[in-house]
Subunit: 361 residues, 2 copies
Amino acid sequence: MLSMMRTELSIVESQPYNAETSIRALCRNDVTPNDAFYVRNHFQIPIIDSKHWKLKVTGAVRTSQTFSLKEIKSMPAKKLLVTTECAGNGRSRMQPLPPSTPWRDHAVATAEWTGTQLRNILSKTKPDEKATEVLFVGADSGVEDGRALPFERSLPLSEALHRDVILAYGMNSHPLPRIHGFPVRAIVPRWYGMASVKWLNEIRVLSKPFKGYFQKKRYIYGASRNMANSYQDNHPVTLVRVKSIILDPPEGTVLQCGQRCIVSGLAWSGSGRIVKVEFRTHNMSWQAARLSSDLGPYTWRRWSIGWKPKNCGRYILMSRATDDGGLSQPEQPVWNRYGYGYNSVLTRSVLVEEVNSEAGK
Amino acid sequence: MLSMMRTELSIVESQPYNAETSIRALCRNDVTPNDAFYVRNHFQIPIIDSKHWKLKVTGAVRTSQTFSLKEIKSMPAKKLLVTTECAGNGRSRMQPLPPSTPWRDHAVATAEWTGTQLRNILSKTKPDEKATEVLFVGADSGVEDGRALPFERSLPLSEALHRDVILAYGMNSHPLPRIHGFPVRAIVPRWYGMASVKWLNEIRVLSKPFKGYFQKKRYIYGASRNMANSYQDNHPVTLVRVKSIILDPPEGTVLQCGQRCIVSGLAWSGSGRIVKVEFRTHNMSWQAARLSSDLGPYTWRRWSIGWKPKNCGRYILMSRATDDGGLSQPEQPVWNRYGYGYNSVLTRSVLVEEVNSEAGK
């Protein structure tokens, strides 16, 4: 199992364990296998005995209740295909480099999740009239800012009641793996991964805005005062920004002059469906790529385009996605203090050589 | 000769021919061999018959004169060790990507040039009292903005009279190679490469500011109005900005956890001597690197530092140079319309694995 994970994941940090989906898995699979799905932890992975585990639902509700895994599984089940991206994906491209995990571009993956709607749980406990937010409390905990705390994040009540916010116990027809939140995690489509809290211990309905560490001190687009290109200050990180990546050809590939190749990749957005992906090189203008079939409202979309380099030399390749809300990737990165939401146009460098060139041999 | 060049240079464009110094040559040589020295052309390389070639000196001078190669070689000779960097070096890292040649980081090299001081030539022709600039006119020409023109650039007279501005006919104890400006080129230490005009045909002393294409439309820090982080508009590109690069370990290298390695590279500046290079990873603070011996006032300086990664995972490596004028590399890139003077802190990504790990096998 470990060796398999090591071939399918690119380790970014060992303590706590954080790893990106491999390029191979991204190229091969519309639905990412469980052992290739990127892993994002803030703390040690908690080991939970599901026999004794109960999900507490407390706070601004008419009846506080607990639910066993068996009870949750007995509720109406829903399967959802969802692309999830870490809010810090792309952080290592930011300049100045923000602190925290230096993700490159592949903290993104797609799985089919099985669970029950959060609204099923909430309808049993009945949020009272003062309820405004729903707080997810994970079993993972550690020290931040000198204080011990669990990973916990709130959602506005209106979002929490969305029909496609689920409490998931299955991942790609398997029980939820320990590393991905066993026994039960939240899945919040369209939002960056931090909203999909793993190892759920408690759901607390709140009547005031939550002000915890991961709500107000992290997962905010915090800007430094001396950064001229910052455009927002302490806005919360919410929906996934529209983005595309080139998967093939890989960085540094040597191509042959005059020979046609296929450039392909993935595109996704939390604010709508992908309707356009464009491609260009440094010396040509944007051209529309072909989109593969749409897998669903919450998933990435594969794209490809034929390209024939006419001259030898270095080429810079770029892709740009647009969603049906009209949002496109910016060409200039927008820096923020903790390095979230990086979605500007990425560049890929390849080398084009004469056919039968002996260079580099 | 061609095959040798191909192994020592990284081709960036074939038409016109532009190529970067190879990493291997940068690692091995304090003085770059001629066939490994980066090549920057705007147009076709002119082929000049040195027997019939004459350098014309005209304009705001008391006596216009021509000089044969033999006459120039008979003047007092000077040898100068100079690091030259293309003003567009690093352009391909800028976002949005500016037009023109997509240089990565290695359009930089050092050679020992042999020539005579420009002031020797000027003292014979005697600039008159209205003289303010010296225009170098190259034999290379082509079409820009719909008009045929040579590559031509001016220097303020005060700069042109500097004792270390030379007309070079020798490069590393060889005659100046055709590709580097045969028979005679300017060498202007401290300035970006565009000032060191190749294939000199004419030196014209001017009494008014030169307004040619390569003076006023290119080699300017032109900013777009809608770019928030632009800080200057149409200022001329002049001195080389302080900069450092990491040469070893290369991008994507796999290192072993707990084993010490040496991180090394080069640093240079047109505004002073390099007095400090610092190194850090994404999760540590700046530490002073060791500087190799100073090769001279106009050359790069090699630096190195020992580093022992303690945990597995991805590490982002960074270096930052400071010169004796107190200038340091910025951590945030400053975009400009044509992509000149990129000198912000560069990042290098490496992977650290367990000793004897089987990952990646």
